[in-house]
């Protein structure tokens, strides 16, 4: 203990105190403050970057979920559109079938009507011609039959007998 006290140099103590005080101030100003600030900055930077990465991952997941949802919606929409299209197609086919049938029926009817009237006309024409022919034949027959009295009388007789029959 005595040697320790004896070895203690007050001069060295004073010099050390002054030098160390200067060293603390210089180190704080030129080294520790900038170093610690940079370290803190870097650490908070890393922290922020990690948080940002987490957020980005979450966003990505959300985005993927959204995409999935949108895809599903699109698929459903496509499905619906296809279904609608099929229905429209079927309806159109049915409609046109119906229309075609109606048209056909109508045309058939018209044709029948035309045929009927043609037939009537033809029949009338035939009747006419037959009448004229019969008249002409009758004329010719009459002319020949009535060329003699006998034949005229015979005719009258047969006619009369016919009337009787009626």
């Amino acid at each position: 203990m005595e040697t320790i006290i004896n070895d203690f140099s007050p001069g060295l103590f004073v010099v050390m105190t002054i030098l160390f005080l200067a060293l603390i101030f210089l180190m704080v100003k030129f080294a520790w403050k900038p170093i610690l600030n940079s370290l803190n900055e870097r650490e908070s930077g890393i922290h922020d970057a990690l948080a940002a990465a987490d957020k980005a991952r979450a966003d990505m997941q959300n985005l993927q979920a959204d995409n999935e949802k949108m895809l599903q919606e699109a698929r459903a929409e496509r499905e619906a559109m296809l279904k609608e299209a099929r229905e429209i197609k079927e309806k159109m086919i049915a409609d046109s079938k119906e229309q075609a049938k109606a048209e056909g029926d109508k045309m058939l009817k018209q044709a029948q009507v035309a045929i009927e009237s043609e037939k009537k006309a033809a029949v009338a024409d035939i009747k006419n011609q037959v009448a004229q022919l019969s008249v002409a034949i009758a004329e010719k027959v009459l002319k020949e039959q009535l060329s003699s009295n006998d034949k005229q009388l015979k005719l009258v007789d047969s006619m009369l007998s016919d009337i009787k029959l009626n």
Partner: protein
């Protein structure tokens, strides 16, 4: 590569230590060979020195040559400020060479400078080899220790400010800064933060970092063959301890002083007794433990290291030159490795305890205010037990 480098450093160190052993300022001859000379040499080494001594040798003509350089001596004597170079003492350490300056006479005795009393022609010693007609002067010399402080301070400034400048350009330092950065982070995260607390550590980290690197580098410098023994000087460790004392005394909050002077929660009669103990703890025991621990560890390390080297001379008779040298080499290399660990450990302990003391001074005692505010304490084990007895 690293291993080769390490081995080289080791060999270099041991060789130099041996060489540095071959000189002494003691006696005319200066050679260290006997046990008494070894003891005197070690005692001399662990003290501060006024010149920077590298090695000595004896020429063929038997003349003793010293290699080194002198350092300036700055004294505050009865005649005012006196300065001269330490070379004027001509390596004398026994008070034989008298330097006359500004009308005052100075001698160097066991690494201390004395001023002769007026009229005295030479130093007169009493039986215990204490000078009777000379007194110590205030010695502000640039001694070897001061030079060590200046060198380490300069090194720290250059190394760490270059690291600080690196951050301006890049996020991750390169080169030497890559070694320094984890050390800074280590001190901040392992010493400052856990002991002082997340909220308040920032204000004290500058001091703790400075102390840590200062002590560590000086401890390591003490292991080099240059023979620095800065952290083994009481004045140095005392100054460091007082820095810590001043910091924790002036940053102590109300709780700290409350707990020291008027301890809450104990009977009033015991409080003054506790206050005396607490005051002694804070102002004497804590700084004293800091200064003695560092001083004693480093000084002991130096003494053991040099004693083991001295085996080479002291046991030469009984073991033979080769045996003594081999034993000395093996033991000193082992102790050298331990001392490298101790160098770090003591720096760590000093810084850690400083941080702990500061942390105790600035700690918030939230729980007690809660107790006072709520009016009733949660019963602890002691109270509950009292109910049963």
């Amino acid at each position: 590569m690293k291993k080769v480098l390490k081995t080289l450093v080791l060999v270099f160190t041991v060789c130099f230590s041996l060489q540095s052993f071959a000189f002494s300022d003691e006696g005319q001859e200066g050679a260290v060979d006997t046990k008494a000379e070894v003891d005197a040499y070690i005692a001399h080494h662990i003290k501060d020195a006024h010149d920077f001594h590298l090695f000595s040798y004896t020429t063929d003509s038997g003349e003793r040559k010293h290699v080194g350089f002198p350092l300036p001596v700055i004294l505050w004597s009865s005649k005012g400020l006196v300065t001269f170079m330490s070379s004027q003492f001509h390596h004398d350490d026994d008070g034989k060479v008298i330097v006359e300056k500004n009308g005052a006479n100075f001698v160097k005795l066991h690494s201390k400078i004395y001023e002769l009393d007026a009229g005295a022609e030479s130093v007169i010693f009493d039986e215990e080899h204490h000078a009777t007609n000379a007194h110590k002067v205030l010695d502000f010399s640039i001694t070897k220790s001061v030079m060590g402080i200046l060198l380490v301070g300069l090194f720290m400034l250059i190394a760490f400010s270059s690291l600080a400048r690196q951050y301006a350009k890049k996020q991750v330092p390169t080169g030497f800064g890559r070694i320094l950065e984890p050390l800074v982070i280590y001190v901040r995260d392992e010493i400052a933060k856990p002991n002082i607390g997340e909220k308040k550590y920032r204000k004290f980290t500058g001091y703790l970092l400075t102390v840590f690197f200062f002590v560590w580098i000086l401890n390591l410098l003490g292991l080099t063959p240059f023979g620095f023994n800065v952290t083994g000087q009481v004045a140095i460790t005392a100054a460091l301890a007082i820095f810590t004392l001043i910091i924790y005394t002036f940053s102590g909050n109300k709780d700290y002083w409350m707990h020291m002077l008027w301890m809450p929660g104990v009977p009033v009669l015991i409080r003054p007794v506790l206050a005396i103990i607490e005051l002694a703890g804070a102002f004497l025991i804590k700084p004293f433990s800091l200064l003695v621990r560092l001083f004693a560890n480093i000084t002991a390390g130096h003494i053991v290291f040099m004693s083991l080297i001295a085996i080479m001379f002291v046991l030469r008779e009984s073991l033979g030159t080769a045996g003594a040298t081999g034993l000395s080499l093996i033991l000193s290399i082992l102790i050298f490795l331990i001392e490298i660990l101790v160098a770090f450990l003591q720096a760590y302990i000093f810084t850690m305890l400083s941080a702990l003391f500061i942390g105790m001074a600035v700690a918030e005692h939230d729980h007690e205010h809660e107790h006072e505010a709520s009016g009733h304490d949660v019963p602890d084990a002691e109270d509950v037990r009292a109910d049963f007895i």
